[in-house]
């Protein structure tokens, strides 16, 4: 019998705790496939965030370091400076990266820190029960924007990829989505490239992945995928925001 589909080696034999229809699981798989494809599992050191993906340290089959909320880019910097030949990546949500950890990500990018950042943007705080994130859309209802996000009160969504692309230090920034097969394939390519860049010492790479939170958006998994396509992508356009030579 020929095996046509199996679990990537870089994922551990542990069941995910993610809610049904949550695309965190798909993104984990893409990261693991990239690690397998590049054969870097032995050298990989992941930094897990605070958020729904806090247990990423149990899911990736490589050395892992848990960070405080938002501090993953600083922790990754410490690791990478000690072990420049290893492959260091962070996996962070939008609350983690764009809110409490905004300074850490900006400065890691400005230093062109040779790390790979997977930034999962689901426009909400998942783990703590659906509060407003810096990436929450105008008008979007969350527990802390119960009348819909009002920019006069709560400001505008932060477009992290566009913002980081203005920095001379950032090498590669791309926004992708995982709401359908075609886009998952594109996301896979981008994530792999972000790791490849590190292998080739190109420097800071960040892939922003538009992701779902059916539980806190109050939608079915399939409605969530449509919501990404219909509501998120217009605000967060996909594509390469910056790529160095």
């Amino acid at each position: 019998m020929t095996v046509v589909f199996e679990k990537p080696k870089a994922l551990s034999e542990v069941p995910f705790h993610y809610c049904p229809g949550c695309t965190h699981g798909i993104i984990h798989r893409l990261v693991a496939e990239a690690i397998d494809d590049l054969n870097i599992q032995d050298k990989a050191i992941g930094v897990a965030p605070v958020g729904c993906s806090v247990f990423a340290y149990n899911y990736f089959a490589c050395d892992m370091h848990e960070a405080a909320h938002g501090r993953a880019p600083a922790v990754a910097t410490g690791i990478k400076r000690v072990l420049p030949d290893n492959i260091v990546f962070t996996y962070q949500g939008d609350g983690d990266l764009a809110s409490i950890g905004a300074a850490e990500i900006v400065h890691a990018a400005a230093r062109n820190e040779n790390i790979t950042v997977i930034f999962v943007n689901n426009a909400i705080y998942g783990m703590t029960g659906g509060q407003m994130a810096p990436t929450t859309l105008i008008g979007q209802v969350t527990t802390t924007s119960p009348y819909g996000r009002d920019p006069k009160l709560a400001g505008y969504p932060i477009k992290i990829s566009e913002m980081l692309a203005t920095l001379d230090g950032a090498y590669y920034v791309e926004r992708v989505s995982v709401h359908d097969v075609k886009h998952i394939k594109q996301a896979k390519k981008a994530i792999k490239k972000a790791f490849e860049n590190q292998v080739n010492n190109k420097g800071f790479s960040l892939i922003e992945v538009l992701s779902t939170c059916p539980t806190n958006w109050g939608m079915s998994p399939s409605e969530s995928l449509d919501w990404v396509k219909d509501n998120m992508i217009p605000v967060y356009p996909l594509g390469v925001k910056k790529e160095g030579k």
Binding site: Q41, D42, K43, A44, I45, V47, V54, Y57, N58, A61, C62, D63, M64, H65, E66, A67, A68, R71, A74, V75, A76, T77, G78, I79, K80, R81, V82, L83, N86, I87, A103, E104, V106, H107
Partner: protein, 355 residues
Amino acid sequence: MEKVLMKGNEAIAEAAIQAGCRYFFGYPITPQNEIPAYMAKKLPKIGGTFLQAESEVSAINMVYGAAGAGARVMTSSSSPGISLKQEGISYIAGAELPCVIVNIVRGGPGLGGIQPAQSDYFQAVKGGGHGDYHLIVYAPSTLQEMVSLTMGAFDVADLYRNPVMILGDGMLGQMMEPVEFIKPPARELPKKEWATTGCDGTRETNIINSLYIDPAELEKKVEELYKKYELIKEQEVSYEEYNCENADIIVTAYGTTSRIVKSVIEMAKEEGINVGLIRPITLWPFPYEPISKYADKDHVKVFLSVEMSKGQMIEDVKLGVNGKKDVYFYGRTGGMVPTPDDILAEIRNIMKGVQ
């Protein structure tokens, strides 16, 4: 070995380098700026890394990553900066990683001032960050001691997998004294088998973490930490006893204040008052034992805690005395350094009361 005249902050930096520290992450704040400047100059020339972080929060988290990767790593700051580092310090203590943190204390609270103080005692020895944990805290009183304690701190950190703090003050950081770089006897250290260095398949993957969602597991983890702290209390208490044998009054003081008290002891002798000094060198674990021993002696009438704070160490002194004698307090704060005359006047007053 040759003696060199150095500034306190530079002596700490050089001692760290000689102890094998190759990574330093910091952020500027007075009065400790000579430490990062020294590291920035020296580390790149010996294959190390100095990095000026964007904040103290980042600096300590870089330390967290580097310590997890198995390196000898240090950061330094002063009071407001150390407050920002507390988040990371709690995580490092929780994940049981070794590192050295220098606090060259200035007056507070808030932005406070830039003159020497000891008002971060509570923060250093009673927690500072969240959760049940301890740092090992050293309080040098001379530049020579700053050198030896800093050098030893890296071994102690590695031995116990625990963050170690060097608690100095602006006076010690800025003053100059001749120092000799003599390494304390090396400790036998375990291999860093827990480090996240990349797993080539020859071992299980390593996870550095302080999250225990199951309360029973977290309690077990904290109990284990406290077993380690008990061992540290048995092994690592350090203090100096000075002129205590026939003392009428025992003064407790550490760091800069203890130096001033030493001058007071000579001045008081001329007036027929016998003053002893117990000087904690480790603030945690605290030397309760010698304090308790002298509290039992008939010749000791009272204790006096002298501090550059509003009375923080006095709580530990009282625990050691355990109600057996009265414990008085003299302290200055805000960056004011007590003079020998101030302290002597206080001692005279107290002794009048007890005779």
